[in-house]
Amino acid sequence: MIGIVDYGLGNLTSVAGAVSKLGFEPHITSNADALTSADKLVLPGVGAFPDGMANLAERGLIDVLNDLVLKRRKPILGICLGFQLLGRSSEEFRHTGGLGWIDAAVTRLKPGDPELRVPHVGWNDLTQTRPDCILFDGVADQSLFYFVHSYCMETPPDGSQVGTCDYGRPFTAAVQKGSVFGTQFHPEKSQQAGLTLLNNFLEKA
C-alpha cells in the first residue's frame, strides 16, 4: 500500500489515480498508523509553503514523518510543494522552516531573462545530473516533464541533486538522498515519462 500524505493541500486524486494506474494501491490519509503501515509514502501538494508546513504541524505529521523517514527509512517521494517541503526553508511570503531533510533553501524563481514568465508553467527538459538514480531507469535524459511553480530549490551542497531544469538559469528539479526522493515537476501529470519515473519509485525505491 502506498500512503499518500493528506495534509489538506492540492490535488491528491491525480497522484492516487496515477499510483493505481500503475497497479499499486493508493491510500490517501493523514492517519499516523495508516502511514506507518504503508510500504512507501508520497508527499504531494500544491499551494503555499507556509500553509504546507502549518498543515503538516496541525495534523501532527511532522514528528510522524521524521520518525518514518529518518529513523525507519521508509521511502518517500515529495512532489512539487511536497518536494520543496523537503528543504531547509522557503522565502515564499515569509521565511518558513521546512522538514530539512535536504539541506537547501527554496527561493523565488528569478529567470535570467525578463521575458520569461512566472509562474514557470508547462513542459520543460529534465537534465539528469545523476543518471544512475533509480528514478531515471528507462527515462531518457532531457525527457520533458510538466512544471508549475514560482519558487525553486537551490542546489543542495551534499550532492543530493539528481536532476536540473533550466528556466533562465538552472535549478534543482529532482533530488535523492537515501530513501528521500523529490521532484519539482509533476510525474503524475507528465505522460509516459512521468509514469515511468513514478513507477521506478513505487517499484524500486
Binding site: 491525480s14 512566472v118 520533458l144
Partner: protein
Amino acid sequence: MLRNRLITVLTFNDGTLFRTKLFEPDYRYTHNFVDSWSVDEIVMLDVTRDPMADRRAFYDVVTQFARECFVPLAVGGGIRTLDDARRMMAVGGDKVVVNTGAVERPELITEIAEAYGSQCVVLSIDARKSDALDGGYEVFSHFAGNPTGMTPGDWAREGERLGAGEIMITSVERDGSLQGYDLTLCRLVSNAVSVPVLGMAGAGNWKHFVEGVEQGGLSAVCTQNIYHFTETSIASAKKFMEKKGIPVRL
C-alpha cells in the same frame, strides 16, 4: 527550454461534450475524442447556463478524464465560491478556471490562490470590441452577455495582482470563426501581465497557432474545434509548429 503548449478546451452542457460558435452550442461535433497522449493540457468547462443546474454529470466526466489523462486538467464553469473551486479540485481538477465569478467578486481569485496557490487559478477573460470603450476592447461576463466596463488589459493586470497564475483570453467575436486568434487582443493582454497567457477562440488551422505565439505573445494556444483533433492531428499540428520554430513537446 520551456515549450509552448497546445491546449484542448472541451465544453460541456449537462455533461455532454459540444463545441460553440458565437457562444452558442453547436452539437455537430460531439462524437469526437481527444488524443490524450499528444495534448499538453486539457481545459474542461461546464457551460450549463442554469445557475441552479445539477453539475453532477459534469463532475463525473471530469473524474473519468482525470483517471485516464496524465496531463494537467483545468476545470471551470460556474465557480462563484471557494467551495465551488474545492469541489472542482476534488473531482480531479489540477487548476480551476474562473470568469464571471471573479468579475462579480474579484476577491474570489485571492481566496482560491491562498488556498491552493496562484498556479491553480486561471482567470478567463471574454472580450470583444466595444463602442463603450472608444472602440477598444471590453470585458464581458455571464457568457459574454454582460458588459463590465473594464478593458481586458486592466482586468488581466488586476487579476494577476489578486493572485491569478495564468490568464486565458477569449475573443467573443472569433469564437468558432476559424479565422485565427484576435492577435491584437492577445498581444494587449500578454503585454499587460507577467504570468503566462493562454489564447482562445478562432484557431482554424495550424498557422494560427504559430501566429498566436509569435504575434500574440501567447504561452499556450487553445483550441475548441475538436473536429480538427482526432487521432493524430494534435501531433501533426505540433510538428508543424516546430518546423516554424516554435518550441513544442512532440
